[in-house]
Symmetry: C3
Subunit: 267 residues, 3 copies
């Protein structure tokens, strides 16, 4: 029997860093598959914010190697009858709660199979109602990492799972109603519109973004191109448009939070 390099396991959760939750996930994985490379994507999703988790997961996915097993846990419904699922896509495996968290990332990578996790042979011996990341998702991810070839063994096939996308853009001929989907550590404010769509919409016209009583009409290519104190738009590294402020925190300056709305007008 040849030695197979285990698939990397990538963790995304809303567990933060102050507790033992993420450490326990890693302990469970190490006990099942000691040689797996476990990578923290982030544990800083705002508590129970499925939208933000889905956005970060989808943005980061394409940078991970083929075969990666994403174990993603933002799970306000833990212990209820919400399902646990594994989605196999063209390049990846996704394990987590069936609450929409996995949808954007998985559907962008072509979904091949969805399995409802019902086979306790791949869980911890005892499954709690409060921490199924530990009891179900981490063990399942560890078994896939270790070499489980046929994920059908994890449970029953599902025709579909909960779908959940970024908030819709509200469109008129000369305006777009946008939503803030993420604010990063630097205070950059990410909107639910990709750079390509933004450029198509604005084209050669002038634009104005109205956000919390402030109007922004400048766009730059890189951060340090802007003037000090000047709010501007930029295509962020995730491909989405963001509002930023050179060497300072745009979100604090604007007083905005996730899910706040703004309006882009062309004229």
């Amino acid at each position: 029997m040849t030695h197979i390099q285990p698939r990397p396991i990538v963790l995304l959760t809303d567990f933060g860093q102050q507790d033992a939750f993420t450490g326990i996930l890693k302990g469970v994985i190490a006990a099942i598959s000691p040689e797996s490379n476990v990578i923290d994507l982030t544990h800083g999703v705002d508590p129970q914010d499925i939208l933000q988790g889905a956005f970060l997961l989808a943005a980061a996915c394409p940078y991970f190697p083929r075969g990666s097993v994403f174990c993603a846990i933002v799970d306000p419904g833990v212990g209820s009858d919400r399902k646990g699922i594994c989605i196999q896509t063209r390049d990846y495996y996704f394990v987590g709660p069936d609450n929409g968290l996995l949808w954007k990332a998985a559907s962008e990578n072509r979904i091949k199979r969805i399995i409802h996790l019902t086979n306790p042979a791949y869980f911890l011996d005892s499954v709690s109602h409060t921490f199924q990341g530990r009891d179900i998702f981490a063990p399942v991810a560890a078994h896939i990492s270790k070499g489980l070839e046929d994920i059908a063994r994890l449970g029953k096939p599902l025709k579909k799972c909960v779908e959940y996308s970024l908030p819709d853009i509200q469109r008129t001929v000369d305006s777009l109603g946008l939503t803030i989907v993420h604010i990063d550590r630097f205070g950059n404010v990410t909107l639910n519109i990709e750079g390509t769509e933004f450029k198509q919409f604005v084209h050669n016209k002038r634009f104005s973004l109205a956000i919390m009583g402030t109007r922004i009409n400048r766009i730059v290519t890189f951060y340090s191109q802007a003037l000090a104190g000047e709010l501007f738009l930029i295509e962020s590294s995730s491909g989405y448009m963001e509002v930023a402020l050179k060497n300072a925190n745009a979100a604090d300056r604007l007083g905005v939070t996730c899910r706040d709305k703004c309006i882009l007008t062309v004229f």
Copy 2:
């Protein structure tokens, strides 16, 4: 000579994430035992809070594989004459200061030997008075991980070490005086009573938990079972009872902090 897989090293500290302390521990370990799998249990213990560190260490331990080496550092007495110790238990090794931090986890896993770390052959060349995690505990953990078979070589055997348990429960016939031992990222408030003891005490009677002027008399099995805005009790994933609030922060709502008291009454 056959190749032996190094034992995993598990880190728990109060170092936080903003400084270089945890990175330096990992550098020291990589220099001694480059192939060790180093797992962050948590670095978010409140500064110098031995009680909280002991609680999290004991809660997480059982999920790690046999042979794991726990390097735990919450060390207000660093540089004084407090000892550095290694405790070998049935399944694990614990390395850290002799201030009670290791006691709960180690004693729950049956202690076999306690060694006072006095052999500088296993330390860094120069030992400071301010960062013995770097100079003593990480190097010792790395040597154990790498395959040190007889921990007696690390120093002198001790008959006992500093014991330190969760605060006692104050008992009367129809009430229990309880203490908050941890507040997690979600604002869930963990009490010093395990689910099994809680159930025995309450049995078929009605109960009321008086905490900061609020009375709680509801218990649920999983979080989303509760009503919005309703404080409730639940057996947490650590096995201890906690006060929680559906999709919100119970600790903020109650205005409590670690070590605050509350009273459980049955009637």
Copy 3:
């Protein structure tokens, strides 16, 4: 061909933990060099604070094994014409922006070569203007880790790079004007003077450190030696002098922040 253990990759950034940035770096590395040991030195450098990043990098470096590849990113000028560089020193490789971040650590380890990163064969296929950590620095570090022997292949040799040191000490015969260069999680306040220089200057005289209206004239060897509530000086584990407060937060007590000034007088 024999199997070569990849060089460890050590990450230092100002990305924090709440976003996907650090996870994406690790995904990129895993895709290029799956067996590399990736170590987080810290991601908690204050946003765009090159001084603090340079200080932490230099303090931690000597504890990492020879051959380590430091990928350090605090990069306010990303996307502008600031260069990306790789510095090879006696023991290490440093990869990051040419803005001074790498200078202190690299120059303390004897610089052998500096290469301007211009060869896109070692970058991601598409290079953005906003996240060159992902597109350039992580891929380059992964290639070095994997075994790139001649870093000249990464680009063009440079005679020098941007130098950047700690703030200068202002000297008179009986006083030193000092600067705060770091405040750690415990509230310990690090000054830009090493323990050896402090001792030479104070020698057998009495001293007084004037900092934000407070005078400190006590020095101790280890933290718990001090009295409760008493501010004191101590040689920190980085070798620099720091102001601390036993079991409490000196920075909060003093109301100081990074880059604040203070004066040390002998008499």
